[in-house]
Symmetry: C2
Subunit: 255 residues, 2 copies
């Protein structure tokens, strides 16, 4: 028995999210089918987090126990040959016996992109939220600063997936310009030891209220302290969100 750790990337647009479900195309089922095609073995992959429908991944990490002795070096090429073009395996590693993509994770980084100008750029429409008016980055960063640190993020937790504790440690939360060749974008990056359901999209929706001038930065502090979801802004749509990176303890990476 070995434990396989894969780093994968996907365009979430045409997926009903990571998690296998009765109907609809999911990343989990797609990956498991590709694995079965090359090894003949059905195994269940666990992801570091279950991305929702429409959410992308630049560096999602998944793991599974396997009895297959398929050579590690050939795994990415073999899996990619059996995967549709919107999912790619970037890296395959042998992991320690106790490694689990979700339980071993020490932190994650998400990114949210916004196109804030009148006409959206057609090439970013699947990967960024369109806001017709320019958002005030300075106010948004001032508001974001109030969320950095260890807090109870209950006010930013989506319904339907409660956790034991709603306390999380946001290590970094930045709002800046992201220059791309095709369009200037607004980029929000957030790194934390863990995330509640829809936490990033609820934070982004709340920061955008500030960016629009509908609320002052201090209001975001009030929302946080209220621990009341109804006080926060709307949930930002999925297409702007991407899971960028998952952090594991050094010893769990390769040894």
């Amino acid at each position: 028995m070995r434990v396989i750790k894969l780093t994968i990337s996907y365009d979430g647009t045409d997926f009903c999210g990571w998690q296998a479900q009765a109907e609809g195309r999911t990343v989990q089922t797609t990956l498991e089918t590709a694995w079965q095609n090359i090894t003949g073995e059905f195994i269940r992959f666990t992801a570091s987090g279950r991305t929702d429908a429409g959410v992308h991944a630049l560096g999602q990490v998944v793991s599974a126990r396997t009895c297959s002795s398929f050579p590690l070096a050939r795994l990415p090429l073999a899996l990619n040959a059996n995967l549709p073009a919107d999912v790619r395996v970037l890296q395959a590693e042998d992991a320690p016996k106790d490694f689990c993509a979700i339980l071993s994770a020490r932190g994650k980084t998400y990114r949210y992109l916004i196109q804030d100008r009148p006409a959206h750029n057609v090439f970013w429409r699947r990967y960024a939220w369109h806001q017709p008016k320019q958002l005030d980055r300075i106010s948004m960063q001032a508001a974001a600063n109030l969320l950095i640190g260890e807090h109870d993020f209950q006010a930013f937790q989506g319904s339907g997936s409660p956790r034991k504790t709603t306390v999380r440690h946001v290590r970094r939360l930045t709002v800046d310009d992201h220059a791309t060749e095709l369009a200037p974008l607004l980029r929000i990056e957030i790194e934390a030891n863990g995330f509640l359901y829809n936490m990033v999209r609820n934070i982004v929706g709340t920061l955008v209220e500030v960016g629009k001038g509908r609320a002052a930065p201090d209001w975001v502090g009030d929302v946080l302290r209220s621990c009341d979801r109804t006080q926060a802004g709307p949930t930002a749509p999925p297409q702007g969100l991407a899971l960028v990176h998952v952090e594991y303890p050094k010893c769990g990476d390769t040894s």
Copy 2:
């Protein structure tokens, strides 16, 4: 009667090209429908060039004669509200009475993107050609240099759309690295006074043969002189190609 000049951008992936046809979704029909929705008037738009199915545009220029007095400043917003998300109007201008997007054009710039590494990046799969092995940029640029200048490009003309003369003036043809956040790409840019049918994709397919090491740069000069399409490389697929810019005489731009 006025002549309207629009600069538009589109993601060609889900279009059967620019030109209206009996079946299939085209950019021309999509734009004409949007125009009819806001003005009630059916007019025919002429594009600077008819992009093929799957080919993109960053800055396509189209023109039409109209009797509508719809205010110029409100045109982009009004048209965009009636267009699907994969076409955007970037700019609207009043043009001189004798302006025609195709006949007045003095030159065009196209860009072709290639991902040349084992696993393609999922976010570029709709906008770049995937080549699993790295291409030799130095050889490709040496070959490209042989095509710069005024030549008979008959060897690079696709069948089915003959022109009066196959002589064109290639002013610039560059092969370089195009660093993007998500993936390093190879970029080929070509500027000419005009293009034959499939000329860019045939040039790219031929340069890639050189980049793969299947032929020496000098071979491209032989192909050019042969004036024989069967001597050139294969036609590169459409998704890597984008019309970047169309050049018009200064006086025809706004006066």
